[in-house]
């Protein structure tokens, strides 16, 4: 049974495993990241498969940014300044991020933003 008022606390669930039913939305695919490859090439297999989803997620964040700053200046700032940030990131992360941008076609500044989102989000 569950509370029908917030925070909708339920009695402790049991027998939920193996995952099934309305709380289970799907399994997760496995990929190999070969650390012997040059950093710029390590993520090619993953990103080739997930390119459309990555572009869609970045677009959702851009829509959000444009809702906050309709002039589009925020996106411009990301696309102009964050690529410079990529060169300051420690290796191999900077090169890996450039490789992800190259394979996905997502602008470098936006891939950098995705990867430093934890620090940015604390704002």
């Amino acid at each position: 049974s569950a509370q029908f008022i917030p925070p909708y606390t339920e009695d402790c669930r049991t027998d939920m495993y193996p995952p099934k039913g309305p709380t289970f939305k799907g399994a997760v695919s496995w990929y190999t990241v070969d650390l012997d490859l040059p950093p710029g090439k390590r993520w090619a297999a993953v990103i080739s498969d997930k390119k459309a989803e990555l572009v869609s997620m970045v677009q959702a964040i851009k829509d959000l940014a444009n809702a906050l700053v309709p002039s589009g200046r925020l996106i411009e700032l990301v696309d102009v300044s964050l690529p410079l940030m990529a060169n300051t990131l420690p290796q191999p992360f900077g090169e890996e991020i450039k490789g992800i941008s190259a394979v996905s076609g997502v602008p470098l500044g936006e891939v950098v933003l995705f990867n430093i989102f934890y620090e940015v989000f604390t704002v």
Partner: protein
């Protein structure tokens, strides 16, 4: 987020987590869901990082994100991180970085470096506790021997607290959401109390990856921000992840 490290009566260590993300980043009224959370779910991937054709570590990631939020170094340690809010936050670290003061490390690059390079629980614990960060964080670390489980509460500069499993005190699990464990969580966002209640109801004799999945499936530990659940067992080197949904009625966070 909710991260748990638990030890059963045989000394097996289990590490499980709900990754909750996307708060205040656009609410889809029609579908009663967070826009960014729903966009992140299709990006969830399990990764096997290999060198010389051997597994170095495994992780659950969002494709395109090169840092680590959830990972296992098989038969060595398991690591998750939860967000910590502080006024001395990441934006200060970013400003310092922009102005050339670059002695701190980006949080997810530290977790990636620890998973890739640390070769023991103690080594990982030292690195996570002592490396200067750009943003505060909680690191939840599980080892491969009895008693090896802890929550490291970090500010940007310091390790504020390390809270260990302590069987002598009857503390057979440690559990972290997004609040300092010595303070009450925000009353509007108390996922800690129901999670601890369910862990105690499970009891140490019944704890396993299956029963941890039950705890992480109980509202509001499971909520509209939950993108995925990961279950890890260090002795087996196993990592399993599942994309989640939270049917209505369900807390937005």
């Amino acid at each position: 987020c909710t991260s748990i490290v638990a030890e059963d009566e045989k000394g097996n260590l289990f590490h499980a987590r709900n990754l909750d993300f996307g708060l205040f980043m656009g609410w889809d009224i029609k579908n009663k869901s967070w826009i960014i959370t729903e966009k992140l779910k299709p990006l969830v991937v399990n990764l096997d990082f290999r060198r010389n054709n051997q597994t170095v570590f495994k992780s659950t990631n969002f494709a395109g994100y090169v840092g680590m939020l959830t990972g296992i170094k098989p038969r060595t340690f398991t690591l998750t991180m939860n967000e910590r809010f502080s006024l001395d936050g990441g934006y200060i670290g970013i400003l310092e970085w922009i102005f050339g003061k670059r002695d701190g490390i980006w949080m997810s690059f530290l977790t990636r470096s620890v998973l890739e390079n640390a070769n023991s629980y103690e080594e990982a614990k030292t690195l996570l506790a002592q490396t200067k960060l750009l943003a505060p964080a909680y690191f939840i670390l599980g080892g491969n021997q009895t008693g090896q489980g802890c929550i490291i509460t970090r500010s940007r500069l310091l390790s504020i607290d390390v809270f260990d499993i302590n069987l002598k005190l009857g503390r057979w699990f440690v559990l972290e959401t997004n609040y300092d464990h010595w303070k009450e969580p925000l009353f509007l966002d108390d996922r800690r109390t129901p999670a601890i209640k369910c862990m105690n109801q499970t009891t140490q004799s019944n704890i396993s990856l299956k029963t941890l999945y039950d705890v992480l499936s109980t509202k509001p530990v499971l909520n509209k921000l939950t993108a995925y659940t990961t279950l890890m067992q260090v002795s087996e080197g196993t990592l399993e992840s599942y994309i989640r949904d939270c049917p209505n009625p369900c807390m937005p966070w």
